[in-house]
């Protein structure tokens, strides 16, 4: 089980770095809360509760983008990515470890954002929360790989939203559907399908993104 040992070590490293530096998480937190407040002013009076649920997903996707833009910063700034790639372990473990860390960050943010949303707008159903968790998996899996691609490019943070948003659209469809539809089961199943397909794809192809 050395593979999972490697993954755990990498994830632990990222969590520890964040615990010490405390730069990304507070920024994401403040960003999501500010966004929710902006949405209050963006929604006209008499707007649907349903519209607000949709906007929650916008907030979550953009907050995730904020976090993902910084995801590979420690490796890039310290030149550590080459070292990790050369290490005698499966390169997909790098992706899995980083995704796991980003998942934890996003989960912590949602722990605050979802109750805040319930406070500002309307309470979320259990299916909505389940949808958020499933979508998180997709966001982290795909986002981490795309962030690695963006790190390889000249334009870095500029290109990550362009790469991420088209792939995030099915997640938003699934998430909003789970929150507002009368048949949330189908949307949750769809989110599960997305997660499965893209997690496998990311796992298999990460090696090619970081190596020559």
């Amino acid at each position: 089980m050395r593979y999972f040992g490697d993954v755990a070590a990498l994830a632990r490293k990222d969590l520890r770095l964040e615990l010490r530096a405390r730069d990304t998480l507070p920024a994401m937190l403040l960003f999501v809360l500010s966004t929710l407040v902006v949405f209050h002013f963006a929604l006209p009076t008499g707007a649907d509760e349903v519209a607000a649920q949709g906007l929650l997903w916008v907030a979550l996707v953009f907050t995730a983008l904020l976090g993902l833009a910084r995801a590979w910063a420690p490796e890039r700034d310290g030149g550590a990515l080459e070292g990790l790639v050369l290490a005698p372990s499966d390169r997909s473990a790098i992706w899995l470890g980083k995704s796991a860390a980003v998942f934890v960050f996003l989960g912590l943010i949602e722990l605050v954002a979802l109750p805040a949303f319930a406070l500002f707008f309307s309470p979320l159903q259990a299916e909505g929360v389940a949808g958020a968790l499933l979508a998180n998996v997709g966001i982290c899996a795909v986002g981490t790989l795309l962030a690695a691609m963006a790190a390889a490019s000249r334009t870095r943070e500029l290109i990550l939203p362009l790469l991420f948003l088209p792939l995030a659209i099915p997640l938003v469809v699934g998430g909003v559907g789970a929150s507002v539809s009368t048949e949330p089961g189908r949307y949750l199943l769809f989110l599960g399908l997305y997660d499965a397909v893209f997690a496998i794809l990311c796992w298999a192809s990460f090696e090619y993104v970081v190596s020559e």
């Binding site: 795909v142 390889a152 088209p166 659209i169 699934g174």
Partner: protein, 218 residues
């Protein structure tokens, strides 16, 4: 020769669509655009698929030619994708009175794919030329092809009752001559796409050779 054949087939397709096939009962003459819109859309998908196949070959076997072939295929696919959106928009205006309807999930999700592949070019040209760029582009192309069925399921999931479903499980909802016109049109458009693909590939290869020669001489 390929170009001549493509031109001839497109001509045939136009004749068949406008003069031979009967008018649609509900939509009248505006339905004729379907003979071009759907084949263009299918060809765009085929181009993306071919690009992804070449990308897979690149990652699997390696070699510069697969990278170039993948890129050119995706380039063609994006062009045909833009055409799909344009023709779909014209059809929407003719059928439903609006240039764009968000309710039409198929058009919307094609827009998503178009955005995805536009980002492909931004990604590709922001990385220095070399094996890294080839690898990253290839992985992204594979993601695109995975996005297609996922988006398809998202269509089926979100209730869609505006975009006419021409191919259901019972087979094509068209009469004989309409189906013939459709098939001819499909072959014609596919041939046009293939011709353009070959032309662009040749052009890019010549560019590459010329650059190498210049570097060798200087």
């Amino acid at each position: 020769m390929l170009a001549a054949l493509s031109a001839a087939l497109v001509g045939l397709a136009i004749v068949l669509s406008f003069w031979v096939a009967p008018e649609d009962a509900d939509q009248g003459i505006s339905q004729k655009i379907f003979y071009f819109h759907v084949p263009i859309a299918l060809t765009a998908y085929a181009c993306f698929g071919w690009g992804a196949w070449k990308a897979l070959r690149l990652l699997w076997k390696g070699g510069d030619r697969h990278d170039l072939e993948s890129y050119v295929a995706i380039h063609q696919g994006t062009i045909f994708g833009a055409l799909t959106l344009a023709t779909g928009s014209i059809w929407a205006k003719a059928s439903w009175g609006h240039w764009w309807v968000w309710d039409s999930n198929q058009l919307v999700l094609f827009l998503v794919l178009f955005l995805f592949y536009s980002a492909y070019f931004m990604l590709r040209f922001s990385i220095e030329e070399g094996p890294r760029r080839a690898n990253v582009s290839a992985v992204y192309a594979l993601f695109g092809v995975a996005l297609i069925p996922v988006s398809f399921f998202a269509i089926r999931l979100a209730e869609d009752f505006i975009h006419p479903t021409t191919f259901t499980r019972d087979g094509p909802q068209m009469t004989g001559t309409m189906f013939l016109a459709f098939c001819v049109s499909w072959v014609a458009i596919t041939l046009v796409a293939y011709t353009l693909y070959r032309v662009e590939l040749l052009g890019k290869r010549l560019d590459g050779n010329l650059r190498e020669l210049r570097e060798a001489l200087s």
